[in-house]
Subunit: 205 residues, 2 copies
């Protein structure tokens, strides 16, 4: 019932994560009802998105392309005040953003892009283990903090990284897992509580 | 922390209804991670949206622009099998889609675009009362079914239309309001139940 070219917009919008046909239709109609300039500017920005923004050639974070055809390097990798001897390994760019917001990480990052998942055919090669190994050994990295999520795949990935880098004499650490800040013990799951107790820390005065 | 040109995409995406900064960021990163062609095609489609799709010059429904510069007429207005003597007045294009899906309307439509709302300065002029009046009287419309929502503004709009068109001898009807199909009486609100009883119908055999 929708005009063909609006239908095409709806189909493309429903490729966004968590967007079904109904929501996509709502977005399309909103863009149609709003001022022309919004759809036009968004359209142009999206059409050029992949020309303007690329993964950082160094760490995999998102980076502005400064000159066309040039490799993009992100602001974190370009920041010389960052501690280059501390490398934080994350699964996704979003995780990097979350850690940056916490302000607790003063080193650099390495984005894997995905987690080990042997059943889906994602092995050490697919997560770029050799690239990480090369980056760590050639850049004099002292400590690698593995900040993959505390899930089955995340733990497997962390284990692989700790083994391979450990064999090269690099110190590998893992983010703590336990009851979240402000969380209620009553509603924490068994595994989280088990970890919180297992990984308990001594008070130091 | 996001690159400038990605940030611009996030800002534009967060103008979509119900989309906050976090969701917009998720959409932008998804488009960046997906194949280039998705962002490019969506971008082009959006940039051209207002050139390709316009409100129907007749009823306000969404219509494909067939030839550039020409007034757009929607498929419903072009369909000669539709009963032109029955006109269904709706507030928004989405409402038209919902009614079309029900299959119960065999006439044509008139989209107001907005409801009467004197406090927001929306009066008879802003809802295009004269345009509706002219359309009804010059097209030999026998019955106007007002399908604005059963809200305060929707009822006020329906009342205005029934008065003005009634004064011109046009038969005006209103969609029924009551307990929805499959609805539970226990959970229906008082006004809905009150209406369902007040507007009760006789069984006819």
């Amino acid at each position: 019932m929708l005009p063909d070219r609006l239908l095409r917009v709806v189909q493309l919008l429903s490729k966004l994560p968590g967007v079904g046909e109904k929501t996509a239709q709502r977005y399309a109609i909103a863009l149609l009802s709003a001022d022309e300039s919004v759809a036009r500017e968004l359209g142009r920005a999206l059409a050029e998105l992949h020309d303007n923004v690329r993964p950082c050639a160094e760490c995999g974070n998102i980076a502005d392309v400064r000159e066309k055809g040039e490799a993009a390097i992100c602001t974190i990798c370009r920041d010389s005040r960052r501690d280059a001897s501390l490398l934080c390994v994350v699964a996704r760019v979003q995780d990097l953003f979350a850690i940056e917001k916490s302000g607790a990480m003063r080193g650099k990052y390495h984005v894997l892009g995905r987690l080990l998942s042997p059943l889906d055919g994602v092995g050490r090669e697919q997560i770029g283990m050799d690239r990480l190994l090369e980056r760590v050994t050639s850049n004099d990295v002292r400590e690698v903090l593995v900040a993959t999520p505390p899930s089955v795949d995340g733990e497997a990935t962390a284990l692989l990284i700790s083994r391979e880098l450990g064999a090269h004499g690099v110190q590998v650490s893992r983010i703590a897992s336990g009851v979240p800040h402000g969380g209620d013990l009553e509603f924490a799951d068994q595994i989280t509580l088990g970890r919180a107790i297992e990984h308990r820390r001594r008070f130091s005065f």
